[in-house]
């Protein structure tokens, strides 16, 4: 775990421009600790559903975690709990030693979901500026411009969401999640609706953005390839109840490029995780 932190940070220092690397060292991203976290939903009529069960996980500051698993196994529920949008039924979650709510109050959390959730009545620029307004902070115009440039949408600042493509909307949504300089970035299948080619491009961009910003990132994805390409560690969840079945370290060099996907190590991890995912899913359906 500890080695992982330094690993991520050296990579960032080497990947980012000098001044970005400097800002990276000034704020340190938060580590996240999940202890015995469970979530049980009441379905009414006395029925309950165990969505997440006994999850223990420590995420180092600046680490990139990917969460994979069958549909309905509790990934989003786990993310929502980490983001403070849902309370765990049992166990505890801390971000930098404090509760997720504290993290939210300090504006240190950013989320981007599968549905981009942009405000259709606002331009891309105003959507990215929205967190400032909602948080009651003065709008840092330079920061908004910077973020739009980071996701390569500077030319589309005044475009309305309906004028943007699906991938562009997702990029605006990611820019919006990053604008308050969060220490923790939570992504729930942000690229789920995109085609394979756009998705790979977006993965590349996400990696670049992550390497420039000191951010602990948790990404839920259905694509094992995406997980292997982006993550430092991959967590595999088993369905009903959602448990962590397997945690796999990805020791591929960064920055990873399109050619990384053809490397034997990449193929090997991909094959291993795909098999494990298939196993977990078929077990689930046999029950």
């Amino acid at each position: 775990m500890i080695s992982n932190t330094s690993h991520a940070q050296t990579l960032r220092a080497s990947a980012g421009e000098p001044e970005k690397a400097e800002s990276a060292s000034s704020t340190s991203p938060s580590e996240i600790a999940l202890t015995n976290v469970s979530k049980t939903f009441a379905l009414g009529k006395g029925q309950t559903l165990d969505a997440v069960s006994n999850v223990d996980l420590n995420i180092a500051g600046g680490e990139f975690i990917a969460l994979i698993g069958a549909s309905g196994c509790g990934k989003s529920t786990l993310l929502r709990m980490i983001a403070g949008l849902e309370d765990p039924s049992q166990g505890s979650i801390t971000i930098a030693g404090q509760s997720p709510e504290d993290c939210i109050k300090r504006h240190k959390l950013g989320i981007a979901m599968q549905e981009h959730g942009l405000m259709p009545w606002l331009s891309a620029w105003n959507n990215v500026a929205m967190p400032f307004r909602l948080a009651g902070l003065p709008i840092d115009k330079k920061r908004v411009d910077e973020l739009l440039a980071l996701v390569e949408l500077a030319d589309f600042a005044q475009a309305m969401p309906k004028q943007l493509s699906g991938g562009m909307k997702q990029r605006v949504s990611i820019a919006r999640a990053l604008v308050l300089k969060p220490d923790v970035l939570i992504l729930d299948e942000p690229f789920g609706a995109l085609d394979a080619v756009t998705r790979r491009l977006m993965n590349n961009e996400l990696q670049r953005i992550w390497s420039q910003q000191p951010t602990t990132t948790i990404l839920v994805t259905h694509s094992v390839e995406e997980a292997v390409f982006l993550a430092d560690r991959i967590c595999l969840m088993s369905p009903r109840p959602g448990r962590l079945e397997l945690i796999e370290e990805v020791e591929l060099n960064r920055p990873r490029g399109l050619d990384t996907m053809h490397e034997p190590e990449f193929r090997q991890i991909l094959a291993k995780l795909t098999t494990a995912l298939d196993d977990v899913c078929t077990q689930g359906s046999r029950q």
Binding site: G84, L109, M113, G117, R133, L134, A135, K162
Partner: protein, 252 residues
């Protein structure tokens, strides 16, 4: 010129044929204009009394749009209060339904008793009858914020009940609903104003209809009715255009 005429013909030939049939029917049967005036008579009456009709039509238009806007404003403000205080919304919704189900002919005399005779009473009636639909549309608009947007707001530390959320998210979310309310209510507001004028005897097109009929000036009465329906269509077209223009920015 010819192409414009052709355009009018292809779009409105139904109405033109109806007018022709009406004129034909009235002249062939030699019907007295007290029973049914000819279209020619109606148009002549409109032209001969252009100033008079313009003045009365303007009056009715102003009262109707004034009542509509006041009702809208009131509806939005009360809906905002109801949004922030669920107990209030529980109290107001049955009242809204009750008031909506009273027929206007029964409603107007009650208001007249309280407020007296005059244009201000027409304004009050139009306001009250516009208020409740606006309130219902606005409130459901405020409550329609999608879960992803709520989650996003909470993730940046904005509670989904406070003023900031209302101003930046709930209020804009309700705009398409409010546009719909305006579009649907605009012709209704006009109709309500006309009926109120008619029942109260307050100046305006509704009263013109009433007085011309009792004076047996059927051309004038029909002219007022024609003008009223033209106004109603114009209202609808105007607010539909407005709706279309602004709604497009709400499609993600």
């Amino acid at each position: 010129m010819i192409s414009t005429l052709k355009g009018i013909w292809t779009r409105y030939w139904g109405i033109l044929i109806l007018l022709a049939a009406w004129q034909f029917f009235v002249s062939i049967n030699n019907i007295n204009s007290i029973v049914a005036p000819s279209p020619q008579g109606v148009v002549l009456s409109l032209i001969n009394n252009a100033d008079y009709f313009a003045g009365e039509a303007l009056r009715t238009t102003l009262t109707a749009s004034g009542g509509l806007l006041l009702g809208l404003l009131l509806g939005i403000v009360i809906a905002a209060l109801a949004w922030s205080t669920p107990t209030l919304s529980g109290l107001l919704m049955p009242m809204a339904l009750l008031l909506r189900s009273i027929p206007i002919v029964a409603f107007v005399p009650i208001i007249v008793r309280i407020a007296g005779y005059g244009t201000h009473t027409v304004l009050i009636v139009t306001t009250v009858l516009s208020f409740f639909p606006c309130y219902v549309f606005a409130l459901s608009g405020f409550q329609e914020v999608a879960q992803v947007r709520k989650d996003f707001c909470r993730s940046v530390g904005c509670k989904t009940v406070g003023w900031r959320f209302f101003r930046y998210v709930a209020m804009p979310t309700a705009v398409p609903n409010i546009l719909t309310a305006l579009r649907v209510l605009a012709p209704t507001a006009l109709l309500v104003a006309l009926v109120a004028e008619f029942l109260i005897g307050a100046d305006g097109l509704g009263y013109v209809m009433l007085r011309a009929r009792s004076d047996l000036e059927m051309d004038k009465s029909w002219a007022a009715a024609l003008l009223a329906s033209v106004l109603s269509v114009t209202f609808f077209a105007l607010f539909s255009w407005f709706d279309k223009k602004y709604r497009s920015n709400w499609q993600a």
